[in-house]
């Protein structure tokens, strides 16, 4: 398929996780089940967070945009989780700094650069005052609709 997929199974609200590894496992597993990524994706994702973390302090709250080497991805896809309680990611801007992350946007990006538009859109979204606050309070089905409508997946 040539478009980026946001499926309902990969949108989570009130996700319970004690740390980022747990949260990322849930998200990665949802993509693996749908065969969008390879088995190797999760480990590569976790390893990448050590040297090149993806936590970001946005206006309203902390978020993360984890992604990794395109070779672990079969189908461009996005998994999103709003956490019940924030988990810690290191800061993309300064890896010594910790960020309390409330919303994770896990990107499965393959070699194709077609869908980088979605990263751009997510980045614009997090700069909008109030958007993240709104997202973090939506029920799951509303969040799924919102993401499918707001983010262009072409």
């Amino acid at each position: 398929m040539s478009r980026i997929i946001i499926s309902e199974e990969s949108v989570f609200t009130d996700l319970q996780a004690s740390n980022k590894e747990e949260a990322l496992k849930v998200l990665a597993d949802s993509l693996l089940e749908q065969e969008f990524i390879h088995d190797s994706f999760y480990e590569s994702l976790i390893n990448r967070e050590v040297n090149a973390p993806t936590g970001l302090q946005a206006t309203d709250m902390g978020i993360a945009i984890p992604h990794t080497d395109p070779k672990h991805v079969k189908q461009d896809s996005l998994a999103v989780a709003v956490l019940d309680k924030p988990v810690v990611f290191q800061d993309m801007v300064d890896k010594e700094n910790s960020i309390e992350v409330k919303v994770i946007f896990l990107l499965g990006l393959s070699k194709s650069t077609k869908h980088l538009n979605i990263l751009k859109q997510i980045i614009e979204l997090i700069k909008e005052e109030g958007s993240l606050e709104e997202i973090s309070n939506m029920p799951q089905s509303d969040l799924y609709s919102y993401l499918s409508e707001t983010l262009s997946t072409e």
Partner: protein, 93 residues
């Protein structure tokens, strides 16, 4: 004016692509034509001295000769204007 830039990030395609689009457009508005390529951070030493500027969205620990700009502000939005200005200054300088 034509300049060569390497945009680098950890994955080689994600944040560097987002930044490349913004920077290239900004340069165009200032009369600078940009030719660019993307790379992973680890490739920068081998590309040193071959282009006019490195723009990275990840921390670079190695000492390089080519001027380097950290473009994370373009991702976060905080300090974006300053970074774009700095890039223009470095390219025109």
């Amino acid at each position: 004016m034509k300049k060569h830039i390497v945009f680098a990030c950890s994955s080689g395609i994600a944040t560097s692509t987002v930044v490349a689009e913004k920077v290239v457009e900004h340069c165009k508005d200032h009369g600078i034509d940009v030719v660019y390529q993307q790379a992973i951070i680890g490739e920068l030493p081998s590309l040193d001295n071959t282009v006019d500027l490195f723009v990275a969205t990840s921390q670079v620990e190695t000492k390089l000769n080519t001027p380097l700009v950290n473009a994370l502000p373009i991702i976060t939005g905080f300090g974006e204007e300053e970074v774009l200005e700095k890039i223009i200054t470095l390219l025109k300088g």
